[in-house]
Symmetry: C3
Subunit: 498 residues, 3 copies
């Protein structure tokens, strides 16, 4: 039969009337809009119409917390049973978010008589979503800035890559990385530290207005330092101002940061059978349903399904609970310096100290800093949690063997890194490279590729069954080729030294 | 006019009732479900709800073979005029597939009183789809495992890439590749050899159950060795358990294996005009229609359109017949060691022997093993078959010149490989590399890239008109750059030797 | 609520009747079809059904210019107030386009009694769309062929990459690039020079027909030399024969040419928040609406939104006017040899001469050829034009700071290129490479990568906020790594020379 996509236009013509009417009612007062939000809307409808229209599509604009908390527990998207007035009884509009906690916000400013925060933080979202904020704050994402900047090894890697280089003869000198470039690169995803430098005047169509002058803005990195002292940015995944659960559940969201060559989660997913079905059947999956019913709402998982969504059977039995700590169903960490290892106990990984005294979960030779990592029981518990999702659609044996395979692959990838590290150590010993900075010379850069690009790819390819990232696209081909290049480099330069 | 996507919700609200009702009726007995399948459904509805729900969306769940074979010939998706009972009169459910040929299946086991196969094979699908299985079995896909493992050259390439390396001093030693890693890499797409090691006990919510213990499972590689002795996996392209023709027709399916850097069919397609229209108009194409009517059902082709689908004009005249031998419309082979060449006569390519005595379709210098390859007439016939598809939307001159261009490009790409091979031969002659294994040294790895990545990209880019894969993305830029690197390597090392 | 995608089928079943009827009426004469076009349709409906069906979906097939020009100005897609008869009163069919300006078209031929042009050119489209053709002709796209072939530097780069290489000993000799390969590579996007070599006979189902024999055909490059002497190809973005505004507005269209590693506009967009929302919400955006209303029709921009579409507020106030000169809202040029620079004044960039006498917008050391580039006022005006689009959805401060960041990043990327150029210059001075051709040796190829791949990526990543192209995917990681490789190469080879 001919599908309907081309023909729904006919229905739409009729529906349009209804919808247009509804849309007008909404900006008026079909649902209770606070007077403060109404003031915002009156101007911003013209000044930034895109924001207002986007918000109008959000659930925030269509329901008040008072109504939302009366839904059956599994259908709720709100975790505070009793948000205070005036938030409770109005739709969640501009002022309900941008007007929270004004005294804590260094970015608060007087805007036509209202005290407005430029940046909305998890601390503000917490008024309705305390459980989600609590979970999130415990994970690695919330600590993403400090995990980079407070870790001397990672910090050196960032500086080595991002620092401006100047050339004199054949000497290359590196200056410290600028805030600008760090903002564009690592901290674009990890989050910037937004501070208030003072205020500035903007010329607008409504005359000059005085606004806070922010550093490292705009940014929606997952671990952003906010001007109210909180960490993170909910809009990293629930983008402004629709706060769409559909967008957060689709893999494109995660793909913004989790992609090749260093972290090819999106790339592997896309070439996997799961990804292929998602791309083919996206239009038939039901993206806004809460809870998310396996088989009925979706027939292939996305990142969110396996890693954090509340999933139930079609009959409403819980398969896994929602959790905004995205590591909560993960037992092994397949990304990060140098080898795979059990997940860290704390979301703050800069506190780790390994047996070489470095703030890394393993030594360069792969020895795990076990005291800072979860134990076997917790690993088993988390793997079982993940398998519950798998077993919704796959037999037990299928799921079991998949993870046996992953464990073996992690071990093999670790060994291929260890081989490279052994060559690297010889390079350092033979003074072919200077270990003071283990990241800035040609041989070292090849070594970095071995673990950061190729071993990571092989592990992700195994975890999500994307064959090419195991093989020719940053996979075993490159693990092998790169090792040979390192060997050749070592042999050639050693010979020259003699 | 405002399109309808946002508004069909209104219609859906009404339709939901109908559909939900239908859905319940189905798991009950609106259509004839065999008692065996009903038993499966009764448990698996709770145990693996994703599978059951997926199956409910399939045509298998909506029609019995008895009804399906009464459709007009061009509309049929079934090629056996008279499947035996009880398959004939029931919908095609769990038992109809997992209960076939139990004595042939070493993976058959007693499951609550039923004799169940874990793995469904083409031999099982054959009961309703004999023509498709026959065609498939003649092509290269069905032979994908042996074409790799029984070919000494390819086998060595796999071992060289996948073998675990260990380092002592500057010596790198290679161990044989593990089954695990071969399963993750080459054989993930080609298919694994699934064998039954014995049985094992699984703890489930219904108590302990005894199941076959399979090797190299899970896998859906196109040439999988199944426990019933058959080759291939229909679910490689028609994934479980919806067996969707829509999914098989969309390019995402093929993209799982046919992708850069070695086989950039998907990547080239995506950047081509065809791919761009597909991505832009996917929602208006009609993906489930049989036959597939050019212009009316689709306005841009996908992989399936050109390579295997039954295509007719809107008025029902056949343009090309369906064929599950995916090489049946191909005259030239633009992928594979070393140079382009006429398609092989047999899907089993491990039987080829070239003039150097190697099981390759050409020698390293590009000389074709003509006896094993199709002749000029057959090449012309197949090209004409492909052009019929082109001419549905393009003038004759357009189509003709496109393939003239492809032939020239293949020749040029072959020449650029030959240039690299000539450098390689010098490397071997000068003992800068050891030809015993032509795949494991640095110069050899560059040579591999020349044919496996860059020449392939240029040819695919021509075949499907994706400009960047001809140019900067693994194209002429890299053919040229890599040749210069090989030349430089050769000159530098030769000098050192003197 | 459950979305409707799965259920609209029910509605479609009804709509199908209506639509099928409409479709038949159309190929008949529901709207006025010229007798010439009707003759075309009578045959081509069978001969090339894909073209006819595609056209039937176009606006060209659904409205006559006489009706189109009566629409309110902002809704018009036609810029000639009075096209001549018979175009005016008929739908725009085969003959209305392929029959224009027959005497100017060297590709005109007698086709069953009609004088038909094979190639439809902007000159032909101009009869209804003069403003668009005028704007287009002023931009760089219309000059894309000459900008490459008439520029001695670019021409040498093309020849160096595309020329066939042959090997004798360790000497690599380069032959001139063939037309065939240039057609497949650079000129696939830039456009080929289509000439009429004579005529040829095609055997068709209707007997032999005589058609023009064209060179470098097929091609839809943006600056194509057409057989009527005009430049460009409207079908590069509005592909045949639906001329869809939806396709042109979707980023897949631009992705055909603007992609990594040299020009990663598409790649950066896809990984940006804008791209992620587009991919997630494509189905809810309204792609055919004219004017395009921010927030209401779309909630995230595509390439077209920012670069050339007519955008209004939901209330119909113009944000930016449509402009088919795609550089009209651009102030800085972040792509092109060597450093970023103000946009050129003329779309014809081959006329530029820099202070080294080369036809490049900057010298190798980055000094701008200011006389040929727009000044500060024009730059400011254009940036303000672009910011109008940003401010539809973002606060002023957000938009301002975004572009401050871009300017800083351009400067840093330029500096990282300059560092590489300084190493390159030493290489030339020390005779480690021969500057006569600055593009063909190993060190030079690394230098090319620094500006053409890595610096471009960093700039695009900043312009459109795609973090990975600033970091590990051709970003700062590669700028740094490649510089170290160049340094190492220089030091090693210098040592050898001593």
């Amino acid at each position: 039969m001919r599908p309907a996509h081309s023909f729904v236009v006919i229905v739409a013509a009729l529906s349009l009337l209804t919808c247009a009417t509804w849309s007008q009612d909404k900006t008026a007062t079909a649902l209770p809009v606070s007077p403060e939000t109404q003031s915002c809307l009156d101007c911003h409808k013209s000044v930034t119409p895109g924001i207002v229209e986007d918000w109008l599509t959000s659930l925030h604009a269509k329901i008040s917390p008072a109504v939302a908390i009366k839904k059956p527990v599994l259908q709720r998207r709100i975790s505070n049973e009793a948000p205070p007035e005036p938030v409770l009884s109005n739709v969640v509009g501009c002022y309900e978010c941008h007007g929270q906690n004004p005294t804590k916000h260094k970015d608060n400013f007087d805007h036509f008589g209202y005290k407005i925060n430029v940046v909305v933080s998890p601390q503000d979202c917490r008024i309705c979503h305390p459980l989600e904020v609590q979970q999130y704050s415990e994970g690695k994402k919330a600590h993403a800035v400090g995990n980079l900047s407070d870790n001397s090894v990672y910090h050196l890697l960032v500086e080595t890559i991002d620092g401006m280089k100047t050339v004199k003869g054949t000497t290359v000198t590196r200056a410290p990385a600028t805030e600008n470039t760090k903002h564009e690169t690592c901290y674009a995803c990890h989050g910037t530290a937004i501070e208030v430098k003072g205020s500035k005047t903007l010329a607008t169509s409504l005359g000059d207005i005085e606004v806070p002058d922010l550093t490292q803005w705009p940014n929606q990195g997952v671990g952003r330092f906010n001007p109210d002292g909180s960490l993170g940015s909910c809009t990293a995944c629930h983008p402004r101002h629709s706060f769409s659960i559909e967008i957060a559940r689709k893999p494109f969201t995660c793909s913004q940061c989790h992609l090749k060559p260093d972290l090819p989660a999106w790339d592997v997913y896309r070439e996997s059978k799961h990804g292929n079905i998602m791309m083919s059947k996206e239009h038939e999956q039901i993206w806004n349903s809460v809870p998310w019913k396996v088989g009925q709402d979706f027939r292939t998982p996305t990142c969110a399904t396996c890693h954090n969504s509340l999933v139930t059977t079609p009959e409403g039995e819980v398969v896994v609970q929602r959790n905004h700590d995205f590591g909560s169903r993960l037992w092994v960490r397949i990304f990060g310096l140098i080898a795979s290892h059990p997940q860290p106990k704390s979301g703050n990984t800069s506190i780790i100290k390994n047996q070489d005294g470095l703030p890394l979960p393993t030594t360069f030779m792969g020895l795990a800093a076990s005291g800072f990592l979860i134990g076997a029981d917790e690993q088993a518990r988390r793997q079982e949690e993940m398998k519950k999702v798998c077993r919704s659609c796959h037999g037990s044996s299928w799921a079991d063997l998949h993870f046996v395979k992953l464990a073996r692959t992690n071990a093999e990838a670790d060994s291929m890194v260890l081989a490279a590290t052994k060559l690297m150590v010889q390079g350092w010993e033979k003074k072919l490279a200077d270990k003071t900075n283990p990241f800035d010379e040609m041989l070292e850069q090849k070594w970095i590729k071995q673990w950061l690009f190729y071993a990571n790819s092989v592990r992700y390819a195994s975890a999500m069954a994307g064959p090419d990232y195991a093989t020719f696209e940053y996979g075993w081909w490159d693990l092998t080729r790169n090792l040979e290049e390192m060997r050749d480099h070592l042999e050639r330069y050693s010979a020259k030294k003699k």
